[in-house]
């Protein structure tokens, strides 16, 4: 019997039909293009995710969301009050501690960078981080892609954000191309930088680009990428990334907590989690000074 675990705080009322189906997730879409995903626990909560346990994803092919409940084509009806963990609050700001300690954050960021260098999947964009090992690129596409990514990183490092993002968008492997995931990470980095700025009187106007500007460049017709990018633009993150941010701001001189959360992020796609982490770290490194 299906157990309803949590639902995202960006769910919208409407009727949804199946868009795409994967092992641990089914995506639905409304006539106006709004997405909803039914996912199992390994994927975890998200802004427009409905998380279940013990359910058979095959049973669900369409749904209607109204103010108080979700009605499935299978006949199942679940009221929002039925969800064991209730609503998942997706905005990253809700997952940060009240008191921000920049030193702890950047120390943990170093740990995260180290973890990524050691454990990130092959062919992720982690190689763009300082001291990261360079993958053995096979074939002309991989080599061209890698060179393109290096060129993009060079633009980013010299403050040419728009050029860098243009070069990265839509490139790479996976259902959500790695470049798009990396850009999502950049946007989260800008949000966190903004948060750190507010706490240190550093004028956020010194940031060379806004998340909106990045999104405008990166937006595409790839349904899957676009969701991540849109969420990142608005600061609404999936559970695993929010947990990572919490760990970065709170973990005490131990990289076990961060390692555990990073491992969960690797569960998202083949390289998506790692690519997003890489983009985030890259952005934080740029503004650490």
């Amino acid at each position: 019997m299906t157990e309803w675990i949590s639902y995202g705080d960006r769910l919208e009322c409407g009727e949804y039909r199946e868009h795409s189906r994967f092992n641990k997730a089914v995506n639905f879409i409304s006539p106006n293009g709004t997405p909803v995903s039914l996912v199992t626990e390994p994927i975890g909560a998200g802004p427009q995710n409905i998380v279940i346990l013990n359910g058979n994803l095959l049973s669900y092919r369409a749904l209607a969301i109204s103010e108080h409940k979700i009605q499935w084509d299978s006949g199942d009806v679940c009221r929002f009050s039925d969800f064991q963990q209730g609503v998942y609050t997706s905005h990253f700001s809700h997952h940060l501690p009240q008191t921000i300690n920049r030193d702890i954050f950047f120390e943990n960021l170093d740990s995260l960078s180290e973890i990524l260098r050691e454990t990130a999947p092959d062919k992720s964009l982690t190689f763009l981080l300082p001291r990261a090992p360079k993958p053995k690129w096979e074939g002309a596409f991989e080599q061209s892609f890698a060179q393109n990514a290096v060129d993009a990183a060079a633009h980013l490092m010299t403050g040419k954000f728009t050029e860098g993002v243009k070069k990265l968008k839509g490139t790479g492997f996976g259902l959500t191309p790695g470049g798009d995931d990396f850009i999502a990470g950049l946007m989260v980095g800008l949000h966190v930088t903004q948060t750190l700025c507010n706490f240190s009187c550093y004028c956020s106007a010194h940031l060379p680009v806004t998340v909106e500007e990045i999104f405008q460049i990166a937006e595409s017709d790839n349904f899957f990428s676009n969701r991540f990018l849109l969420y990142a633009r608005d600061g609404h993150l999936f559970q695993h990334f929010n947990h990572l941010l919490t760990a970065l701001f709170t973990a005490q001189s131990s990289d076990n907590a961060i390692k555990a959360v990073t491992q969960k992020l690797y569960d998202v796609g083949e390289t998506s989690g790692a690519d997003m982490c890489a983009g985030f770290i890259f952005c934080m490194n740029l503004f650490e000074q």
Partner: protein
């Protein structure tokens, strides 16, 4: 070296699967180069740089999968592509968490069901046309539940279908019954000898259920989508459907249902109808009666009459008497007493757009009628959310459904409106349609009875009498069971009629009192 490749359109593989495919290719031998990537413009640029871009890849979209192979010979490339196809199929199967193979694409579905000849498409409009083309090119008929497809695309699809002996039902075709199988929003009805062509979803539901409830049955019920009978589309699907039913040996009587077609389209329909040697009943809701006389149709003036006529013709008769005789309606109306002097107006709140139109054509003599979808003499409501005098509202229109399920599924917006109307001292009758069947609300009573009771309480508290008149569209074989719903509504104090036409006439008689 030779470059070959394929585009997998509309097939979504997770990143892990794509990586597995890429690794498989790499293991096929030295000297082979490949890319397995999404078809974004940027990836195509990189493919170009890498010498792996094929001209065909220009057609790819951001969510299409591109597989490019560079091999020593054409034969080697073909072999590798074949292996990739097999691997992708395996990956699709492995993705299932259930026991049955769950195809994720049309091609996969056809492998499971090679004899399929219809594809029902319900995806976002921007992807729907592509899926329809895929289906047509595979020799399938199409039912396009999706809307937001440009008219030009609809015309092209239908022209192609017509040339190839196929049908495109839709776009925005919500209802069909094919070989006894209800598709999308549809009801479980008897099989029989009456074939229906309808450019109206709710209209199709009303006539097929009335026909079934009378004891007759449906051979096929084909929806065309609302734009088919416009001049631009030219009635392609309507006419091809009519011809198909004309040739179908199981169809003895044909029933046509729509709003008035464009005169040129009507002329074409009429010509084809004249050539078919079967009785054809027709309801073109709101059409000029004189115009229709020149054709050989048996003309009906509302949905109930159309269904009754079709049943009668199937029985070798010609009778279109209403289900509830006028005398009986008057008797029922006469029992409604206790109105306050200020109660004057009808408030009809419809989930089915066709019912909203039908009510207006029946109430053509009523004065001061307002609607958000006005027909005939009705005036346009200034604010759809606020009734003015006699108000007939289609609550399936955009202003009510933005970000919300259709009112046939989710009653909440209409329930609120029922209570609002009850609080208005000028409301004399509330008229509702309850549409059953697949796709509709599975538990209508639990949702609609509370506001009905509340409305009556409000009226009683204020020394008013408030009849609530309902029609229930459905059969006892529908998941909701029509008889149960009727009984439940009657217990709640509603007046329940077998058709929207009957309910509308009763409401009008009560207003006249």
């Amino acid at each position: 070296m030779v470059v070959n490749g394929i585009i997998k359109k509309g097939e979504y593989f997770d990143s892990v699967s794509l990586m597995i495919v890429a690794k498989t290719i790499n293991q096929m031998g030295p000297g082979i180069d490949s890319a397995v990537v999404m078809g974004t413009r940027e990836n195509r640029a990189i493919l170009d740089t890498a010498g792996l871009l094929l001209p065909a890849f220009d057609e790819a979209g951001d969510t299409d999968l591109l597989i490019a192979i560079k091999a020593e010979t054409e034969e080697q490339a073909e072999t590798i592509l074949q292996k990739i196809e097999e691997q992708l199929q395996l990956l699709r199967k492995k993705d299932d968490s259930g026991e049955d193979f769950n195809p994720k694409s049309l091609e996969g579905a056809l492998k499971v069901l090679p004899e399929a000849n219809l594809s029902l498409i319900s995806v976002a409009g921007k992807y729907a046309a592509a899926e329809a083309w895929k289906a047509l090119e595979n020799g399938l008929n199409v039912m396009l539940f999706s809307d937001n497809i440009p008219m030009e695309e609809e015309i092209k699809l239908k022209q192609y279908a017509h040339k190839n002996g196929l049908l495109v039902m839709g776009p925005d075709c919500g209802t069909a019954i094919i070989n006894g199988v209800p598709l999308a929003f549809a009801n479980v009805v008897n099989r029989g000898s009456i074939g229906v062509v309808a450019a109206s979803g709710t209209g199709l539901q009303e006539v097929t259920t009335l026909i079934s409830n009378s004891g007759e049955g449906i051979s096929q019920a084909l929806g065309t989508g609302g734009r088919d009978i416009k001049k631009d589309v030219g009635g392609i699907t309507f006419i091809d459907s009519l011809k198909a039913l004309g040739e179908d040996e199981n169809t003895k009587v044909i029933l046509l249902v729509s709003k008035p077609p464009h005169p040129e389209v009507l002329a074409k329909i009429g010509k084809i109808a004249d050539e078919i040697d079967k009785p054809i009943a027709a309801l073109f809701l709101g059409a000029d009666k004189e115009t229709l006389k020149q054709y050989s149709f048996y003309v009906a003036h509302n949905l109930e009459e159309a269904a009754t006529l079709a049943v009668s013709l199937a029985r070798g008769e010609n009778d279109s008497s209403p289900s509830v005789p006028a005398d009986e309606l008057r008797t029922t109306a006469s029992k409604e007493t206790g109105f306050a002097p200020e109660q004057k107006y009808l408030r009809a709140l419809y989930s089915g757009g066709t019912f909203c139109g039908e009510a207006q054509t029946i109430l053509t003599e009523m004065e001061d009628v307002f609607s958000n979808a006005p027909l005939g003499n009705s005036q346009k409501l200034t604010d759809s959310h606020k009734s003015t005098k006699n108000t007939i509202v289609d609550m399936g229109e955009d202003e009510f459904t933005k970000g919300k399920p259709h009112p046939m599924i989710d009653f909440s917006t209409r329930n609120e409106r029922i209570v609002t109307e009850a609080n208005d001292p000028e409301t004399k009758v509330i008229l509702l349609d309850i549409v059953l069947g697949y796709g509709a609300n599975m538990d209508p009573l639990s949702e609609v009875i509370p506001p009905i009771k509340k409305a009556k309480e409000i009226a009683q508290t204020n020394n008013r009498h408030l009849p609530i008149v309902c029609s229930v569209t459905g059969t006892d074989r529908d998941p909701q069971n029509r008889s149960s719903v009727v009984t439940g509504l009657q217990k709640a104090g509603a007046l329940v009629l077998p058709s929207n036409a009957a309910a509308t006439k009763l409401a009008a008689l009560i207003i006249e009192k």
